[in-house]
Amino acid sequence: MDSKTTSPSATDDAPANPAGPLDHPLRWQVGVPLLAALVMFPFAANALDGAFYVSLASRILILAIAATSLNLILGFGGMVSFGHAAFLGVGAYTVAILMQAGLTSAVLSFPLAVLLSAAAAAAIGAISLRTRGVSFIMITLAFAQMLYFLAVSLKTYGGDDGLSLAGRSTLPGGLSLAGDTPFYFACLAVSAMVFVAVHRLVNSRFGHALQAIRENETRMEAIGFPVFRLKLTAFVIAGALAGLAGALTANHASFVSPSMMQWSQSGMLMIMVILGGVGYLWGGVVGALVFLVLEEILSHYTIHWQFFLGAALLAVVLAAPNGLMSLLHRRPR
């Protein structure tokens, strides 16, 4: 493992022998049928009179992006960030504020949302990453709370009550995000791209170094890797991806409010990742899917669904110590 991460001949791509403990292969036998099923889903749902589920699926895809971005730093980088929702908030508010100003083009607002949340992550990460362990958890929480209260104080943009958007972002060339199905496809396209990008990143030399830092930071420092810079880079990428998810969230609900950056939201993202499997490629996706589907099903049957959601989560913790994905394959962590 060490020889691979340190050897200068290691290439950017997954090595020829993909069985290494730091490699997380994305099998086409899983990916292609899943993508096909996801493309077919809205047609099936609309045909079966389940249009509501298209909107729910969009929400799951968006949160899968957010959870995957958190998993990149939490699972692969060992950085337990308790303020990830703040970056979603920055992305969402960017879209909302631009729209308030009359700038509805997604070509403008989405890149800006990504850029601003990356900048926020760079500033927060540069300070937070000088601490580790519980201090890191709490200092990221502190910065997220600061952004939360900043949003509360933005009286021009709704303050505590939030801000309703006039509509969804517009695309060039006559494409529209207004309907649930077109928006679903936008979410699907973005989340598929993010997922593949994270997969490439995790299996790259950078990703291997990141995982090695998670395992032994001191050793990586001693070998000569720029540990702080690598961690900060991962933190900024994760923040940027979360900002992208935030921009989609603002469009999905046509509404932004400070509550989406509250610590409980950061906690929920963390719960999703832990539920799905920390440090597993599919961990964020599976966590978001299972959490939201459980929530949806249980809330159909009883108003006390939170009790049963809690019971289900507890069962997972006791039965699958490393999350749901660990049940499928054993990977040394």
Partner: protein
């Protein structure tokens, strides 16, 4: 800004800080010694408050209700420890977060199921309902004074327990180096159970005492839980001493900030801007404080581990 106002705010901050200390003391010991991140700590506070409210309503006496509520909350905590939490001690922190978060959800929903979604009424004893004139021209609610007195008494009792008893010595040893304490013959299993029960008693006491001032409702535990975590990382995890200092700092800064900062801002930059920025800055204050402390002293002001 009058001296009276300053004095009043300081007392309010002291009162809030001491109640925070009751919560943080249990949390910091459980975290420092048992190495358990317990998100359900706030749930014990909530359940304690509900039990005190119910027992007070049933018995008609606040003192009796408080005692019964604390006893009930301790029993619940011991049952929780024996059935679920014991299985989480050896697990990594993230599993503990998920596990105790699950318990938090279940507690919230169980309370909503039993007591309903509406807040439950809990009023201060009639004998403490009036104000007390502390000095000419300045009177202060007697009940808040009683909270301060109880908080100080409990803090003192805890310090005697930690600094002067055999159990306290073992606790300190456990916080500083758990494995070594076990090797030296500390009965860790018994210690954990005792510790968890003690933490629950302090939670219920804080919940019962604060009940008449704040609303006894579902979700009351979460916001206070975050504040308790802020307190223990500022103070240093595992340190009772640190928890007290951290709680007083957070209590006073938070309370005083909410009143004084808007006033200060109004004088500096006019009413309009102040009404928007004042409350936000006041709320941010403790988080800035925490970030600064963690940046310069990542292990808190009074680190317990050697």
């Amino acid at each position: 800004m009058t001296p009276i106002l300053l004095l009043e705010q300081t007392l309010n901050g002291l009162q809030f800080g001491l109640m925070l200390f009751l919560l943080a003391a249990g949390l910091t010991l459980v975290f420092g010694i048992m190495d358990l991140i317990n998100l359900a700590h706030g749930s014990l506070y909530m359940i304690g408050a509900y039990l005190v409210a119910t027992a007070t309503a049933a018995s008609g006496s606040f003192l009796l209700g408080l005692a019964a509520g604390i006893a009930g909350c301790v029993l619940f905590a011991l049952a929780l420890e024996a059935t679920v939490l014991r299985r989480l001690y050896q697990r990594d922190h993230l599993s503990q977060v998920l596990g105790t978060f699950a318990i938090l959800l279940m507690c919230n929903e169980a309370v909503r199921f039993i007591w309903g979604a509406q807040p439950v009424a809990l009023s201060a004893p009639a004998s403490l309902s009036g104000p007390v004139e502390l000095m000419p021209g300045f009177s202060y609610p007697a009940y808040r004074l009683a909270i301060i007195a109880v908080g100080l008494a409990v803090a003192l009792a805890l310090f005697v327990l930690i600094a002067r008893t055999r159990l306290g010595m073992q606790l300190r040893a456990g916080a500083s180096n758990r494995d070594m304490a076990m090797m030296m013959g500390a009965d860790v299993r018994r210690m954990f159970t005792l510790l968890f029960g003690l933490g629950a008693a302090l939670c219920a006491l804080a919940g019962g005492m604060l009940g008449p001032l704040l609303a006894v409702q579902v979700g009351m535990g979460e916001s206070v839980l975050i504040l308790a975590f802020v307190v223990i990382v500022i103070g240093g995890i595992g340190s009772i001493h640190g928890a007290l200092v951290g709680a007083l700092i957070v209590g006073i800064v938070d309370t005083a900030g909410r009143t004084l900062i808007p006033i200060l801002f109004e004088q500096v930059m006019g009413a309009d801007l102040a009404s928007a920025a004042g409350p936000a800055v006041a709320s941010i204050l403790i988080y800035v404080l925490m970030a600064v402390v963690l940046f310069f002293r990542p292990r808190g002001l009074f680190p317990a581990t050697g």
